[in-house]
Symmetry: C2
């Protein structure tokens, strides 16, 4: 049985990069990952790049080959993976399986999105392609509207309040203050969220993650080899993925994200762990309600309890289970294809004790939960630090 | 060591499907593949779907989840793979590695493109995203122009003639006459090609593959298990992939496709075979010059000899090495994301002796060569029939 560890990390600052292109962003993250890994570019045997809508954001498909080219890695196999906002998590899983297969020992995984080269309306339409174009976007249901339906139903079934949802954004903005790579360095209050104006009721502007440019990269290595060449390898102790109906209309429930539940269940079984064994989690808070759905699906709290659980501070930096210490998608930013890889980068920083001011104490096991669309794809990874070379 | 075989096949007719949507096409191919495989849908453990530009052709990303949904396969992991026109071959390789990894025993692989829902100009721009948007498409160099540069250089260096290139199209249209699923059922002559009007000199209309709608699917299975459940499993005896610079400007040569050379060399080493051991090949003839470059890169003939080799009939149905017996991209059609999977379907039909009027005699080993862009990605697969259950 071959196991897989992360030995190198790279991540650009997340934000509006008017002065940097898609290529420059992925090169920056990729080179940082290679330089931090103890290997050289020529040691990399394959590459997986996650990007959701490069065709519609920058007119460029075929970005696997572009990344290999940009990093001087030709002629290694290079593959773009796309699962909407879970493109990064899926690329990580493809890299993981490529090493598991025995075909490769060292694989680079990147995630990237350059979203600000188009106008907001065009971006909304491009992002709408993550849902069901025929039954949702075509009829005007862009992503805030889809998550608003879930939020409204959660309020109806469980009494979740707008203030509880707001507390997700407040926490994540607060956490982002300690992350130099985060898009936003501005604390917000529940009142700020409440008066920030409806985008799709009950979701307001500050319930929504932003449009972001950014890239992240990790270098994966077979674990035995990783222990030899790296001081602090971080093993992927579970990598799972599941799917659900693309459109909300196909779901059995609007308040349970089944793909996340299935992926989490399999991951915990694989790693022989339970939710209470997790020391911190990076979850997919594209909207405040999404974090509430995530912590319920993973099992940090019971069904319907996510709003209260958050409001009570249990997912805060110093809470029972710190969620999105990085700032999450809301505070750190959400360059869609990069997000899943950036979550892995944060998990490694925490497990290696390199998270500086936002270091979670005694972080042994980390979790990353990355969602595509309104929940049709979910990847779930568990991470644990290994003893590497001295 | 786990090996991987194909146990089920499906392919729609290739052509202009005004009456069928993306979903209907992939459902048709997928269901045919499942029904022909001896398994049921519930036995499928993961899915990889290749599509190049679904975002720009039909406004839909996240098509992995869409396909799983459409085929009723939720909640299995479903992943879209995109490597331009090599998306299908890359999806096949991802499925192959997923089984090799030990994570799954049975995996579905699909390829699809619905190209006729947009106008020709928009299609040309979408397809241009397979090359380098910044140094090529932005300046007006769409795909016929890029391949025209390669064709012109091949003519200059080796004396290749326009008539020799035309002979590729003539052969492939002739072969397509015997393939009921081909887009074109019309024989053409060298004279027809020569007077068909320049698209980008020296390439004329009939040197170019068409805009096509279509889908193809295969069911992969671990080989030991495949032998138990399938009468005629076809083993993937080599799966290789390589990359080259995205833009032509980055290449050392315009007349050698390095990614194809690297992938072919590795595949032959892996399978301990030589080009002369191959009984038939499906190669990526998106333009007539592309087939000439392909047969040179694979090693069916020497460098610069591809034009003469074709003109002499050596790649004809009854020639030394039959190339594109299916009709190839030129005759069968080229729904870009589907092509690599459709090549695998053709290889299986030939190796199982089910290719009807176009059956290659004593077909033991087949080859599929799938190219992304102007050559920045190449996948190369070798196939061999196994003895299955009686």
């Amino acid at each position: 049985m071959r196991n897989v560890s992360i030995i190198g990390l790279g991540c650009t600052k997340f934000g509006e990069h008017w002065d940097k292109s898609f290529r420059e962003l992925i090169a920056e993250a990729g080179i940082e990952a290679i330089l931090s890994s103890g290997i050289e570019g020529k040691d990399i045997q394959a590459l997986y790049g996650g990007s959701m809508a490069s065709g519609r954001f920058i007119g460029q498909e075929h970005i696997g080959a572009l990344i290999a080219d940009q990093l001087g890695l030709n002629p290694i196999p290079a593959t773009r993976v796309e699962n909407a906002c879970a493109s990064g998590g899926t690329a990580l899983r493809c890299g993981y399986m490529a090493i598991k297969s025995g075909e490769y020992d060292i694989v680079a995984v990147g995630g990237i999105e350059k979203m600000t080269d188009v106008g907001t309306q065009q971006a909304a339409i491009a992002l709408g392609g993550a849902g069901d174009q025929e039954t949702e976007l075509f009829h005007g249901a862009s992503f805030p509207a889809l998550y608003a339906l879930m939020a409204r139903r959660h309020m109806h079934e469980f009494g979740t309040t707008e203030e509880q949802m707001a507390s997700v954004s407040v926490k994540n903005h607060k956490n982002a203050m300690l992350n130099p790579k985060a898009q936003f360095h501005r604390e917000i209050s529940v009142e700020d969220v409440m008066r920030s104006g409806y985008i799709a009721s009950p979701l307001k502007l500050l319930d929504c993650s932003p449009i972001t440019d950014g890239a992240a990269a990790v270098i994966l290595c077979e674990s035995d080899k990783a222990r030899e060449i790296c001081e602090k390898p971080v093993e992927i102790i579970a990598s799972e993925q599941a799917s659900d109906s693309l459109a909300l209309i196909g779901r059995k429930s609007l308040v349970e994200t089944m793909a996340a539940k299935v992926a989490a269940k399999k991951a915990f079984e694989k790693a022989k762990l339970k939710p209470k064994d997790i020391n911190f989690a990076e979850v997919h808070d594209c909207f405040s309600i999404a974090e509430i759905l995530a912590i319920e699906a993973i099992g940090f709290c019971g069904k319907g309890e996510g709003g209260k659980f958050t409001e009570q501070g249990k997912t805060a930096f110093d809470g029972e289970i710190p969620v999105n210490v990085s700032g999450g998608l809301k505070g750190k930013g959400h360059p869609v294809g990069a997000t899943g890889v950036a979550q892995a980068v944060e998990a490694c920083l925490q497990l290696r004790g390199e998270a500086d001011k936002r270091q979670v104490k005694d972080a042994k096991i980390g979790l990353a939960h990355n969602v595509g669309g309104s929940g049709a794809t979910c990847t779930l990874h568990l991470f644990k630090a290994l003893e590497g070379r001295k």
